[in-house]
């Protein structure tokens, strides 16, 4: 078991092993997504307050969860890469950044679209949405910094520090934005999570959440393989791999 993880840390073995996992993860993701969509769009009943527009929640909420989850994973992988100098951890960190930013963007857009029929405006400075917006900027900062530094290893280490600073700040930012929001509270209350949610609505939510996690797993491995190939392009095993590709 330890040997397995040891092997995994080697870029060459990671490339080979992850290549085998990706199709299965993708298939599982597809399965959960179809199940989630079926449950969410067809089975779940119409909300008596929000009508059918609440179904946007099945995209919005899992996307928001992923945006936070991925940032924490990115920061964690960054720390591991920084402290233990494990190349693979660095690769996983930067591979996660674009995906996390995509989910944040998705959460913002669906939140905005959901808000229009609910509150009549395309954007409201709701605490959660505002926090998501700042999170998007944090992601973009990581991506921008990574692209700005020429050496990949230095870039990975610099973004690890940035992600770490970000992850420490996220609870602070979230708390301060929530507080700020209560100061200027409008008469509306956020319906983004109801206090007690109907089981028939909870199931599709959880199915989509799992589907998104599997999606992240699939895509992060795909990105990581490309990054590994790029970093290791001058090694023997890559030359061998490329010669077989032609």
């Amino acid at each position: 078991m330890i040997h397995f993880f040891h092997q995994l840390a080697s870029p060459k073995h990671f490339y080979r092993i992850s290549g085998k996992w990706i199709p299965w993860l993708g298939l599982a993701c597809l399965g959960f997504m179809l199940a989630g969509l079926y449950e969410g769009l067809l089975v779940a009943p119409t909300d008596y307050q929000q009508g059918d527009s609440y179904r946007i929640m099945f995209i919005h909420v899992p996307a928001a969860w992923m945006s936070l989850f991925i940032y924490v994973v990115m920061a964690g992988a960054g720390v591991i890469g920084l402290v233990w100098r494990i190349k693979l951890a660095e690769v996983m960190a930067i591979s996660s950044a674009h995906i996390g930013a995509s989910f944040t963007f998705l959460a913002l857009i669906t939140g905005s679209i959901w808000g229009k029929p609910m509150w009549g405006a395309w954007w409201v400075w709701d605490a959660r949405l505002t926090s998501e917006l700042i999170l998007l900027f944090l992601y973009l900062g990581v991506i921008a910094l990574y692209n700005a530094v020429e050496d990949r290893r230095t870039a990975a280490r610099a973004t690890s520090i940035l992600a770490l600073v970000g992850v420490v700040n996220i609870p602070i930012i979230h708390y301060s934005v929530e507080w700020w929001n209560t100061l200027h509270q409008g008469p509306t209350v956020t319906k983004f999570d109801a206090p007690s949610i109907d089981m028939r609505m909870l199931i599709p939510l959880l199915l989509m959440a799992v589907a998104f996690k599997l999606f992240y797993a699939t895509v992060v491995l795909m990105r990581a393989r490309v990054e590994v190939l790029q970093r290791e392009r001058n090694t023997g095993w890559v030359h061998e791999l490329v010669s077989k590709y032609e």
């Binding site: 700042i134 973009l140 900062g141 530094v149 610099a158 520090i161 940035l162 970000g166 700040n169 301060s176």
Partner: protein, 227 residues
């Protein structure tokens, strides 16, 4: 000649940075002028209704302070990087994080403290009450060091980059949000006669957090940038 102890090294670094800043004092004044100018732009942009200005004054002044702070951040490491003394600093036997405190302190004395001196003028321009002005000064006193401390991490990460200045704002502004929120709402509350002890305590907490964590992060970032 005996090698300097840590307190001596700290004092030497502080004095050096202050002296260098003094020699370039015309440069140092720019962020301050920016602070005043930006604040003055708002009445021109949105109208001079005293009630309106009083309402949004705290927010305007604090956003202007953020921007002025951002503008001045480049100077923390720029000249040292250019003439090679930054590399020398990294070779010092003293813990780099402590030396970072010296650098950030010097930076704050030169760029943050002047904002406090000018702030009363700005409160008058935006029609803030005396209470609000007092709170403004306290929030600036607590908040601008946090801006310098957090900003230093951003500068340390971007000092080696060719176009580091452009992404500096992207890196640093999201991290500035809590300071902005607590400080601006404190001043607004003060203007309305409401208690501000919670806001100020939170700002003080942020200051303590930043002082304890950011020097180490700045030092680590510097080592990475200069590697």
């Amino acid at each position: 000649m005996k090698p300097a102890t840590l307190p001596q090294a700290f004092a030497i670094l502080l004095r050096r940075d202050l002296t260098l800043a003094y020699r370039r004092r015309s440069e140092m004044i720019n962020p301050l002028l920016f602070f005043v100018l930006v604040t003055a732009m708002f009445p021109l942009g949105i109208g001079a209704d005293p009630a309106l200005l009083r309402d949004i004054g705290p927010g305007i002044i604090w956003v202007a302070a953020l921007l002025a702070s951002l503008l001045s951040l480049e100077t923390v490491f720029r000249s040292d990087f250019d003439d090679g003394s930054l590399e020398q600093l990294l070779l010092s036997p003293h813990p780099l994080s402590i030396l970072m405190i010296a650098k950030v302190l010097a930076h704050w004395l030169v760029t943050g403290l002047p904002l406090l001196i000018v702030a009363p003028l700005l409160s008058v321009l935006l029609n803030l009450s005396h209470e609000a002005m007092r709170t403004l000064l306290i929030t600036l006193a607590l908040g601008t060091p946090v801006l310098s401390l957090i900003g230093a991490i951003g500068v340390a990460l971007t000092v080696g980059l060719r176009k580091g200045g452009t992404i500096l704002s992207l890196l640093v502004l999201p991290l500035y949000v809590p300071v902005l929120i607590f400080a601006a709402s404190a001043v607004a509350n003060s203007d309305a006669g409401l208690p501000v002890s919670a806001h100020l305590s939170l700002l003080a907490a942020l200051l303590v957090l930043a002082t304890s964590l950011s020097p180490a992060a700045t030092a680590a970032s510097l080592r990475i940038s200069m590697s």
